[in-house]
Amino acid sequence: MINEKLKKYKKKIDIIFSDTDCPAILDKGLKMSADDIIKELIDSGLKGRGGAGFPTGLKWKFASQQKESKKYVVCNADEGEPGTFKDREILDKQITKVLVGMAICAHTIGADEGYIYLRGEYNYLIPQLNKEIEKFNAELKKRKVNFNIYIKSGSGAYICGEETALIESMEGKRGEPRNKPPFPVVEGYLNKPTVVNNVETFVYTAMIIQNGAKFFKDLGTKDSRGGKVFSVSGDTPYPGIYELELGMTLEEFVELFGDGDTKAVQVGGASGFCVPRRKFKDTIIGFEGVPTGGSMMLFNSSRSMYNVLHNFLEFFCEESCGQCTPCRVGCQQLLKGIESVKNKKLSPKYLDDLRNMSDTMRNSSKCGLGQSVPNAFNSILENFKEEVIY
């Protein structure tokens, strides 16, 4: 179905999937100094598009400052957050832009090797990606750039989207997050300085190099500069992939994508926040409100929010690496807890104990997975308590 409202929407943008002169961007970037590139990125306000939102310019700056001679650029294509399918599209349709971004990063920090860590479930893309990468590596060689890109395959673990678990997986080890510090920009892949950035982030860096920081900064809000690719799914007549400015309210979003009966939107996937209808007007999609790596799932009144929460908790119980106590045991407690309340084995009061315990998951888990499980749990519980209990 064609989204007529979207056609007229003023915040619809077309940067990621636009036709671009990639070789020109590459040449422009390679001519710039590392300092100028970093300045441009910091100025643009670009933050990581994988969900964590770390300022990209700052990340590249830290990596470039390391005195190590061997450095790496890694593109995080693990796209595992439920409801996120935008990187797949970017890799399929705009791979060259990704590669250009990676090459400019390599030029900035001084890396000679780059990897795309590709989610195992996307292995079918490898033949076509390798063809493009081979062409690109040849283009780099022509320009006497000492940088080669390779693909490394994931093996189907959500946790390997976390940058240090990703690096562990690249090293052939269990995908268990590391202690931070040291951060990957200091000690990453094979303990060398490594920039790990999301697929979409690399594309935006290339576009910022082409058009300058201002064009990006002019979009979005003060805390959420620029645009974002969203993958919209669930109870919507318009499921799909859309690039929009950051900073719109959920009311605007649901106006565009809702089916008229939207009860809740899960922003940011299983590790994100559930926003109920009554809060749509006051909630901003962005780093100052509810951030997202792109996943937007709409639920209408036919959906049981208990089922939604149960699904998320089942997911986390399975995908937790199991290393740290609060996450490994906490996830099981949340899942079994809501089941026990639902089938009346435990009183609804127990949910307060669980909420209490989830604070420890948030402040003591070793990585973002455990720290984020309470997001869905608390937001669904807070806004749909009756559905969870009865």
């Binding site: 202690n179 510090p181 199991g322 290393q323 609060p326 490994r328 099981q332 420890t360 402040n363 003591s364």
Partner: protein, 592 residues
């Protein structure tokens, strides 16, 4: 090195760059509880017990892994910290087997200790403890997953400390578990039974297989004649499990306690250690003679064979080097054979009714006693092996007030020993003992080291080397004149691997190599009191060398009871009878 200034609980302190919050707090006499942390291993940071509050940090911070930064304001006892700690403990209890009173580690469990401090409620959460079967396949130790807290200490020990890798973390999420390759029983994988994992397990997940009840049953059986031998490393560590500080020698009291427990004869493995030196020393000289005098192809370097963890290790990992091993049995096994042949005959005891119990700092010795070839006496040479920890338990069960005991001496004729024997308990000790005897046999003089103390072979360094020039040989040994005898010593299997890789490539210019599977040698064995760390092992080592120094006889060949044994029974080292009873063979094992 930069100095960093931080405050902890509003108290200022300056520490070196790179110091963790945990260590900085220690300097201020603040003890932050830990579980997955162990001083011998790399930092894991997974249990989350040690989290503290750091001003400005979004989350609580693990103090074991977070290095201090200039200006950091750290708080270790806020309400937030205490709540998090209590939650973590209670989450661990929710996935734990709560049958503490029946657990071998009751009252010596690190989880219990922390839970006690926080007066934790053990049924605050839903029980998610797993009920997997206990792996009892190894004769040395057992693995009970229902008590595992996933701290990964055992995995890190086996990989980092020992380079064996018998354990790994498998699966993820709620199914994560410590497993062997393909989850095979322990006795079907490369595990060497060294027990280093048992030493470092904070709970009762890994414990030795005990033979306490079997020993009591034998002692209570009027038909049985029960003798006991104790290894050199036991006497410098037994005290730790009975209320003493590490490094206290309790030899005399140990003997008294054993006598009170009802053993018919209390002997000493050290006697057999002196015997081993005789057999192994002459075996080495025999190989040197073959190589240097007869100029025949000889397998060198010769390697010691008294560490059963090491033996299983080389059988799996370096089976092409099995011929390098000395054919000598270990002192434990030599003792068993002598008890059931020489001693039984002399005392007119029916060896079928004799039970040999050995007290060892070691878990692999349980495996060694069970090896099918260990029956040269016509019976199982060593019946039961109990660890230092098990002996301490038995002493407590018997109601013996250990600290108050008088000191007594071992019985004859398998109880006398020299200083050379006692040093077997430390890495480098077997080498030193062998050299003290071999050098004198060849030259008629003492080893050219002050006080007989061959310092180059001593100490905690992973791989040690020494060269001793042999000069002034007696006529029979003229072929060794001027030879620079090169020896190497390694302890811990990682270091053993390093040396063996050199031997494999033909790049090891040594004549004799001593290998001990455990860090520090037997004094750091898998059966020693828990906890263990470098400081404790160094104290045990100092005690061993102190005992050597204080003994009147310090060379194995001067042990009068050993001399009598040869005179009356074995005739001479490496005699036919000695070979039959005191020497053994090895076998290739699969790598996986």
């Amino acid at each position: 090195m930069n100095m960093i200034k931080v405050t902890i609980n509003d108290m200022p302190i300056e520490v070196q760059e790179g110091t963790t919050i945990h260590d900085a707090a220690k300097k201020l006499k603040i003890k932050i509880p830990t579980l997955c942390y162990h001083p011998d291993l790399s930092v894991a940071g997974n249990c989350r017990i040690c989290v503290v509050e750091v001003k400005g940090s979004r989350t609580l911070v693990p103090s074991c892994s977070m290095p201090v930064a200039d200006g950091m304001e750290i708080y270790t006892n806020t309400l937030k910290v205490r709540k998090a700690r209590k939650d973590v403990i209670e989450l661990l209890l929710a996935e734990h087997n709560m049958d503490c009173t029946k657990c071998y580690k009751n009252c010596n469990c690190e989880l219990q200790a922390i839970a006690k401090d926080y007066i934790s409620e053990n049924d605050r959460f839903i029980d998610v403890a797993i009920k997997k079967h206990i792996d009892k396949s190894s004769p040395s130790y057992q693995k009970d997953d229902s008590k595992c807290i996933k701290c990964q200490r055992c995995v890190r020990t086996c990989i980092e400390l020992q380079h064996v890798g018998a354990f790994t973390m498998a699966h993820k999420g709620e199914h994560v578990a410590v497993e062997t390759f393909l989850d095979l029983p322990i006795n079907e994988v490369v595990c060497t039974n060294c027990g280093q994992c048992v030493n470092r397990c904070p709970t009762g997940a890994l414990t030795e297989k005990h033979y306490i009840e079997e020993t009591w049953a034998a002692l209570a059986d009027p038909d049985k004649y029960v003798v006991v031998q104790t290894a050199p490393a036991v006497r410098v560590a037994l005290g730790e499990a009975l209320g003493f500080e590490p490094g206290k020698r309790v030899t005399g009291q140990m003997v008294t306690a054993l006598k009170r427990m009802g053993f018919n004869a209390v002997f000493d493995t050290n006697f057999a250690a002196d015997l081993t030196i005789m057999e192994e020393g002459f075996e080495l000289l025999g190989r040197l003679k073959k190589a240097l005098l007869e100029k025949k192809p000889t397998v060198l370097p010769m390697m010691t064979s008294c560490s059963p963890g090491w033996i299983k290790y080389i059988e799996h990992e370096f089976p092409t080097l099995l011929d390098n091993l000395s054919t000598c049995k270990s002192p434990q096994q030599m003792f068993g054979v002598m008890a059931k042949t020489y001693y039984a005959k002399k005392m007119k005891i029916d060896p079928a009714k004799m039970v040999v119990v050995s007290v060892m700092p070691c878990t692999a010795k349980k495996f060694e006693a069970d090896r099918p070839e260990m029956n040269s006496s016509g019976y199982k040479d060593v019946d039961y092996v109990i660890t230092t920890r098990e002996l301490a338990l038995m002493i407590q069960q018997a109601g013996i007030d250990f600290p108050a005991l008088e000191e007594e001496k071992c019985d004859s004729i398998l109880g006398d020993y020299t200083g050379a024997a006692i040093i077997f308990g430390a890495t480098g000790g077997v080498m030193e003992a062998a050299l003290r005897t071999a050098y004198e046999v060849v030259t008629g003089r003492d080893v050219p080291f002050k006080n007989l103390e061959i310092l180059p072979v001593r100490g905690m360094e992973g791989v040690k080397q020494a060269t001793i020039k042999i000069e002034g040989c007696l006529p029979d040994w003229k072929f060794l004149e001027g030879v620079e005898l090169k020896v190497a010593i390694a302890h811990g299997l990682t270091n053993a691997r390093t040396l063996m890789q050199l031997v494999e490539k033909g790049e090891a210019p040594f004549h004799f190599i001593e290998i001990m599977a455990c860090p520090g040698g037997c004094l750091g064995g898998g059966g020693q009191p828990i906890p263990t760390n470098l400081e404790i092992r160094e104290k045990r080592m100092a005690a061993i060398y102190a005992e050597d120094r204080g003994l009147p006889v310090r060379k194995s060949h001067e042990n009068p009871e050993v001399q009598m044994l040869y005179k009356e029974f074995l005739k001479e080292p490496n005699s036919h009878l000695a070979h039959e009873l005191l020497h053994t063979h090895y076998r290739k094992r699969e790598k996986y």
